[in-house]
Each structure stands twice: as structure tokens, then as C-alpha cells.
Symmetry: C2
Subunit: 510 residues, 2 copies
């Protein structure tokens, strides 16, 4: 009975957080321009209210009672984990001084405006003082949270609990040695044709096909919707209302195709969380005060990458669905067959921009950012020296010269929002997606056959059973051990990239 009392209290806190998520969704899809004036205040108030409710004596009292009432249960029972997650969230809040939170929120608004202007002018100096304060505040945050080996560890632990600077370094070293020779070989091979991807693709038809794709892989539109936006995202107001967004550049078809598959992958995670966890601590991260069902950002990203890349960029996928695409765009795709299309959407070309990167070069963009973030945090790199460090790393890893800061160090929004420590979760998502896919192949007889037939239910069912349903109950590595017998392991990812690109490009790693 007592755990139910706790859930009722946490349910109300969850309602406040998910209400805030509705306001965020609205502000990025529906809100009229001048609504922005008060929207920030409304969201800030809900965040304060939720934090106060979480830290109130009443919550602690209910936690203690629930703790006593469930003490006989095993450590990994949902109730025990729900209590532990809530306690961890409260402890995190207690460690962070409210003045620091407040200053970070204030800086975010001005820093983002400064970043937009600096990027437009390709003028790093205009952004430098804001980034310097952001880094200083991030360091204060790390110190408040606490760390032992490296201050950066504290920041990584927020989106990706359990990961550290050292563990990332080991992971990245292995990925680098695993894929650098492959990238060299592919870069030397003949590039496939891609010109038709830049034809004129009317937005309404792109939207129609995006919706078709989302539905095809299992997105439940009775519990979701797809809208256009500038920077695509997925957002959840409990498993019964999980929304995705995408963008439709007229002259670049892959953005909406793979963007939609990516966000749908996130949405399938949220739609699959155990209904019993709804509105509770196993569906919401009270530490980050963010309504999200995934156990870590990396675990969430694994689901988006799995559907985007392992399913959506596969030869089988386009063998099946290319006809429906060409029916909608007969002129734009005239003379292009499914194999040509498949090669085009998997073409590899080292580039300057992370969000435009292919699967084989993407992680180099991440590794460079993580390296820089860790050095900024421990003080071995000064903000003023950042452009030089950036440009040198791009030259070293991708062999490119950075012509200006706009296409270099100023390209990402992340640092202007004060978020330092989240880039690593993209590569962790890639690694985890391959690991899960390899396990599903081993465990599910006939999985490849079902994918060839366009039946995505067996794969979705396996992910529901092994990942989605658990919400935040198990840690990311617990989840991986249960699903694959191992904690995070880069080998299936390296194997996947190697098999894929040697076949596509007819090369051997050099």
C-alpha cells in the first residue's frame, strides 16, 4: 500500500514535468512567434514547482514509508528500483546550488542569442566570453555533483550514468583503430551517384511518405503524431502520447526519410515502456527533471540509430519500399533503381558538418568533441585556443581544412545551451544499436527473413521485451547484459560497419 502512496505523489510531480514537455513541444511546433515572451517563464515555473514537490518533506516521508514496506523485495524489483531512482534524483538536486542553476538558465538565453549571431558572422570571438562562462559554470556543476578521476566524469554521468572519461577513452581508441582503416579504403574507392537526392521534392509528398515510413516500422499514431519543425526531436507525455517531428528541406530528400526513421526509433522506445511504470520514477528521470522513459541518452539513441541505420539504410529496406517512394516522385527518381538509391543513401564522404555525416565518419565528429570537452573541463585547453584545436583534429581525423568557424567550432547548438557532456551518447547509441541488433539476430530465428519480407513486428517485439518495457528499471549495462550477455562492447559495431562498407564499396580495410 505504501509504495502506491509514493507513486501517487510522484505521479503528480510527473504530471507537472510532462505538462512542461507539452509546453516545449508546442513552442517548437505550434506557438505563434510572440508567444515566446512568456513561454520561458511558464516552463521555468513548472520546473521550479516540480523540484519543490520532489524536495518536499512529504516526498521524503512517503519514500521512507515505501522503503520500509518494500524492504523484503529483491534489489532489482521495480518498487526497489523506483525508490532508488527517486532518492538518487533528490540527492542530485540537493547537491546543486540553486544560484548555479539560476545562473546557468540565465546564461543560456543570452549565450544562445550570441551563438546564433556569432555563427552567422563566423566570428568565434563574439561567442568566446559566453562559452568561457559556460565552461566555468559546467566546472562548478561538476564540482558540486562530485568526481574523483576527472571533473568531466560528473557531467558525462548525467546523461549516461556509469560512463567516465577513462571508459570513453578506451571505447574510442578501439573504435578508432577498428574503423580508421575502413574509412581510408572507402575514401579511396569510387564514389556512388547521389545527384538525384538533391532534386526538388515537394514538402507535402515528403510528409506523406514520412508518415508511411513511421507507420510501417510500428509507430502507433493513436498514441502519437508527426509534425514539421526546424530541429527535429521526439518528446513523450507518457507512453500514450509520444510525438515526433521532422524537417522537409525541399532539395535534400534523405533529411526527412532518415530523420523520421530516427525519431520514430526514439518514439517506439517511449511507446513501449511498461504501462505500470506510467507517471512513475521508472518512466521519468527525476534527477534531470525530464520526462523520459529511457535509461540513458545513449540507450535512447540506440533505438533511433537501430531503426534509422540497421533497418532504414539496409539493402532489404529499399528493395521493399523504394517502389512506394518512386511512385510519389516519378520524375525526381526517373532512371534510378533501388540499388542505386540504396548506395546513394549510404555514400561515405568525410565532411565538416556533424549532422550531415554518414555512418562511417560520424563517430570522428563525436570523438573530437568529447576530447575537447574533457580538456576544457580539466583546464588543459583554454576556450580561446578551441578553434585551433578543433581545426587540427578535423585535419588529423578527416583530412579536411576548416575554412571558417561557422563550419567548424561554431556549428553545434549544444555548447550555447550549456550542455556539456552529452555528445558521447551519440556514439554510445551507435555501439549499443549494433550490439542489440547482433543479439536479436542470434536469438531470433528467422529475423533476417522477416526483415526481408517487411515484417518489423518480430524485431520490435524483441526490443520491447529486452529494452523498451523496462523503462528506467535497469541500468544501461544491466540491460545490455540481460539482452546480449555483455556490457557495452564496440566489437559488433565495428563488425557491422566493416561488413557493410566492404560489401558496398568492394574494398578491404587498409
Amino acid at each position: 500500500m505504501s509504495y502506491q502512496d509514493l507513486l501517487q505523489r510522484l505521479g503528480a510531480i510527473n504530471d507537472v514535468l510532462t505538462s512542461s514537455s507539452v509546453l516545449v513541444w508546442d513552442s517548437r511546433t505550434m506557438m505563434p512567434p510572440r508567444g515566446v515572451a512568456v513561454r520561458g517563464q511558464q516552463i521555468a515555473t513548472l520546473s521550479t514547482v516540480a523540484a519543490e514537490m520532489l524536495m518536499a518533506d512529504e516526498t521524503s516521508r512517503l519514500l521512507d514509508a515505501a522503503d520500509r514496506a518494500t524492504a523484503h523485495l529483491p534489489d532489482d524489483a521495480a518498487e526497489r528500483r523506483g525508490i532508488a531512482q527517486t532518492r538518487a534524483g533528490i540527492a542530485l538536486h540537493r547537491r546543486i546550488p540553486s544560484a548555479l542553476r539560476h545562473r546557468q538558465a540565465e546564461l543560456r538565453a543570452t549565450a544562445q542569442a550570441a551563438w546564433i549571431e556569432a555563427r552567422a558572422k563566423s566570428d568565434f570571438a563574439g561567442f568566446q566570453p559566453y562559452l568561457e562562462e559556460s565552461v566555468a559554470l559546467a566546472r562548478q556543476l561538476a564540482d558540486a555533483i562530485g568526481w574523483s578521476a576527472a571533473p568531466y566524469d560528473a557531467l558525462i554521468g548525467l546523461p549516461e550514468p556509469g560512463e567516465t572519461t577513462a571508459s570513453l577513452r578506451a571505447l574510442f581508441t578501439r573504435i578508432r583503430e577498428g574503423i580508421a582503416p575502413l574509412l581510408r579504403a572507402v575514401s579511396a574507392a569510387k564514389a556512388p551517384r547521389t545527384d538525384f537526392l538533391q532534386a526538388d521534392y515537394p514538402v507535402a509528398l515528403q510528409h506523406d511518405f514520412a508518415l508511411h515510413l513511421a507507420r510501417t516500422i510500428g509507430y502507433d499514431l493513436d498514441r502519437g503524431r508527426l509534425d514539421p519543425t526546424v530541429h527535429p526531436f521526439e518528446i513523450s507525455f507518457t507512453r500514450d502520447d509520444v510525438r515526433i517531428t521532422t524537417r522537409y528541406p525541399r532539395n535534400f530528400l534523405p533529411a526527412s526519410l532518415f530523420g523520421t526513421l530516427h525519431e520514430t526509433g526514439h518514439a517506439l522506445y517511449e511507446q513501449g515502456v511498461d504501462p505500470a511504470y506510467s507517471r512513475g520514477p521508472l518512466a521519468t528521470d527525476f534527477g534531470n527533471l525530464y520526462a523520459v522513459g529511457g535509461v540513458s541518452f545513449g540507450a535512447h539513441e540506440s533505438q533511433s540509430r537501430l531503426w534509422e541505420n540497421h533497418v532504414g539504410r539496409s539493402r532489404d529496406f529499399w528493395a521493399l519500399h523504394y517502389g512506394a517512394l518512386r511512385d510519389r516522385f516519378p520524375e525526381q527518381l526517373a532512371g534510378v533503381d533501388d540499388e542505386t538509391f540504396h548506395r546513394a543513401v549510404n555514400s561515405v564522404r568525410p565532411g565538416l558538418i556533424r549532422v550531415e555525416a554518414d555512418e562511417l565518419t560520424y563517430d570522428f565528429h563525436i570523438m573530437l568533441r568529447v576530447e575537447i570537452e574533457s580538456q576544457l573541463l580539466d583546464g588543459t585547453l583554454k576556450v580561446k585556443d578551441l578553434p585551433t584545436a578543433w581545426n587540427e583534429a578535423i585535419k588529423r581525423d578527416l583530412g579536411l581544412d576548416v575554412p571558417d568557424d561557422r563550419r567548424g567550432v561554431l556549428q553545434d547548438i549544444h555548447w550555447s545551451t550549456g550542455y556539456i557532456g552529452t555528445f558521447c551518447t551519440y556514439t554510445i547509441g551507435n555501439v549499443m544499436a549494433a550490439q542489440l541488433m547482433a543479439s536479436a539476430r542470434q536469438q531470433l530465428v528467422g529475423l533476417d527473413r522477416s526483415l526481408t519480407d517487411g515484417d518489423y513486428a518480430p524485431l520490435l517485439g524483441w526490443l520491447r521485451d529486452n529494452v523498451h518495457q523496462h523503462g528506467r528499471r535497469f541500468s544501461r549495462n544491466e540491460l545490455l547484459v540481460r539482452a546480449s550477455g555483455r556490457s557495452l562492447d564496440p566489437e559488433p559495431y565495428i563488425d557491422y560497419l566493416t561488413a557493410k562498407y566492404t560489401a558496398l564499396y568492394g574494398v578491404v580495410p587498409t
Copy 2:
């Protein structure tokens, strides 16, 4: 300084209430079907949080300090009125037992489902027990709030402070004697042609024209948006984000035309509230815990009726805008000129359904409901005798036989939601609209000329100055006295209807 501290606290309460309004808007325009499962809980939580914040000792402490700091100001200074409004809201909350609120909210969910089913089957008996409990709870609410002459007074006072059963009876008697002879004369005259209003009007074109109308009369789309919905409404999240909705039945053009003008009228009120009142007690009714800028429901309705009827159904309006309408629907309106169109959208025909009623019969629908509500509240009418009472009144006032309860006593959603006491505000809106319009005509030289020219800025400016900007600062009658020299007065309304319909139908009242 102290009043500012109070405003900061009230601003946060306002943020919670407007967040709830965003959730309501979303649920009626955007939410996927199964989102409904948790949306009710989210809204209920925000409502509880706002009430707790309002009733907290902290709020009372800030109120007392603000009271002392502003004691030297005149009674009608914005600060004094803001404090008084907040105190009144708190006092109202204190008087209503939370068990009663809770039971009303519970009953609302089941009663509404029962009403939907009963209406579909035209079976009053299926709804009767729910209505009996609704009436009993409404009576308990009236007793909790307090009343002297009649229990119904307490309920009327919520949406329309200052109005009573007795004052409404006097108002209605005068309206009835003023317009009944007119209705008799018009009913005996030849009916205008209206067949073309029921042609096939594609929804996208209706939406396009609705947006054009809203913009034409002054709706600021940088601070608003127009979406389709089932039951149209206007909703405000502060003056900088005021949204309207409309419906587009394919086979009945007037619904979207006049529905849009109506909701735009509401929106112009909210968009015009003094920016200094934003997020404060002069922009939000803390008593009803509802984010609304108007001083009463009737005052709000006056703005929608003014733009819908006095402007939107005028001869001048269609002389100017009919061309743009016919350009969009050349086939549907072939052979119909602007005068024929104007007559059609002003045709009078006594009918059974309130929401389909014309200007001349509408108030009879209201007067009958108010009479019934007051009798239910003081016990002189029993719920089981309601259908008979209803049908007799329709026969008496409109000369019609009610064929079934679906088109009779079961037609309105109001009673199933537990709201008793709001119907009167529709007629008060009609009366107040005519009174304000008559004053504007007297005070603004050249008003009619500007309306003939399609320049709505002078009228909107006068309403901004005399009504909108004040938000909830002045009572409805204070507002009317300031604008017109008199409190609520039915004569301009009777004059308006008489002049309009004698001209349109070429009759004299009999």
C-alpha cells in the same frame, strides 16, 4: 516594491494556470486519441498545484504586505484592485469544501459520458440520475458560497459578478416585451432565400477565408493561431498567445464565417489587455482558477457578439467582403449577389436548437434555460419534470413542438459538465454589445464611415480604450458606466434588433 513581490508570486500561479490552458487547447486540437488517458490527470494536478499556491501562507503574507504598501492609493488603482481580486479569489476557494469540488469533478466525467449516450438515444431517463446529483451538488455549492434572496444568485455570481436572479428577471422581462412583437411580425413575413448556404464548401477554402476574416478585423497572428476543432473556443496563454478555433462543416458555410468572427471577437479582448497586467490578478480570475482577461463571461461574450453580429452580419460588411468570398466559391455562389447573401445570413426562423438560432430567437433559448435553472436550484422544479417544463416553454415562446429530448432538454453540454449559471452570460453579452456599439457610435465621429470603408481600426481602438485594456480591473458595470454613462441597459439592444429586422423584413412590430 511589495506589490511587485506579490505580482511575482501571482505570476507563478498564473504560469501554472496558463500551462493548464495549453494542455486544454492541445487536447482539443492536437492530442492523439489515446492521450486522453493521462491528460485529465495532468490538468487536475496543475489545478491542485495552483490552488495550493494560492491558498499558501506565503501568498497571504505577500498580500498583507502589498496591502500595507499600497494603502495610500485610490480604491480603483490597478494595485488595489489586483489585491482585492486576489483576496476575493482566495476567499471563494476557502468557502468551497474540497470534498465538494472533488465530487463535482468525479461526477463530471461520468455525467458527460451518460449525457452523450442519453442524447444519442434521446433518452432523458438515462441522464436523469446524473442531472439530479449535479443539481444537488450545485445547490451545495450555492450554499457554501452563500446567498440571500435565492440560491441561484450564488451560481450566477461566479461567471457574472453582480447579477442576480431578480436582476435577470427584470432584464428578461424587458427584452421579452421588446422583441416578442418583432419576432411575431418577422415570422409572418416572407422568408429570404438561403438554399446556397448549404452547398458543398471545401474545408481548405473555408479555412483560408476564415483566416482572412480574422486578420481583416484585427486579429494579430503573430500572437495567435486558428485551428479546426469540434466545439469552437478561444483560449489565452497571456495576451501574447491567444488562440482561436473554428469548425468547417462542408455543407453549411455560416458556421465557419460567423464562428470565426465570434472567436476572433473574444481573442481581440485578450490580445488587448494592458501588457502591465500580464500574468497578474487583473488578467486571470484566481477565483475560477481560469486564465481569462475579461471581467465577466458576459463582458467577454459582448466582444464576440459585437464582431460577429454588429460588424460581421451588417450590410456594409458583405458589401465589402462578399467579392472575396465569391472569388473562392464561384460555383456555389453563382447568381447570388451581396444583398441576397446578407439577407440569407440574417434570416430568422424559430428553431429547436440554441446553437443554430438567429439573433432574434436566440435569447428565448437563454431565457428558458435561466428560468429552469433557477427553479431547479430553489426546488420548485424537479429534474424528472424538466422535459415537460422545457417543451411547454418552447411552445410558448417559439410556437414549436419538441419532437424528442435530443432536440429538447438534452441538446446542451453545459448541465452534463455541472456548470449551472452560465447561460445568462450569452444574453448579457448581446445586451452589452449593443450598448457598447451605441456608445462608440455616439463618441466616434465617422465610425460608420470607417466601417463602410472596411477600416476596423477606429472601432477596435475604441474597444481597446474602453474595454480590453482594463482586463479585470473594473467590474462589468463600472466598465459600462465609464464607456456609456449607464450600467447594463437593454434599450440599445432592443433598438438595434428593431431597426435591423424592420429594415430587413420590411415589417413593423405587432
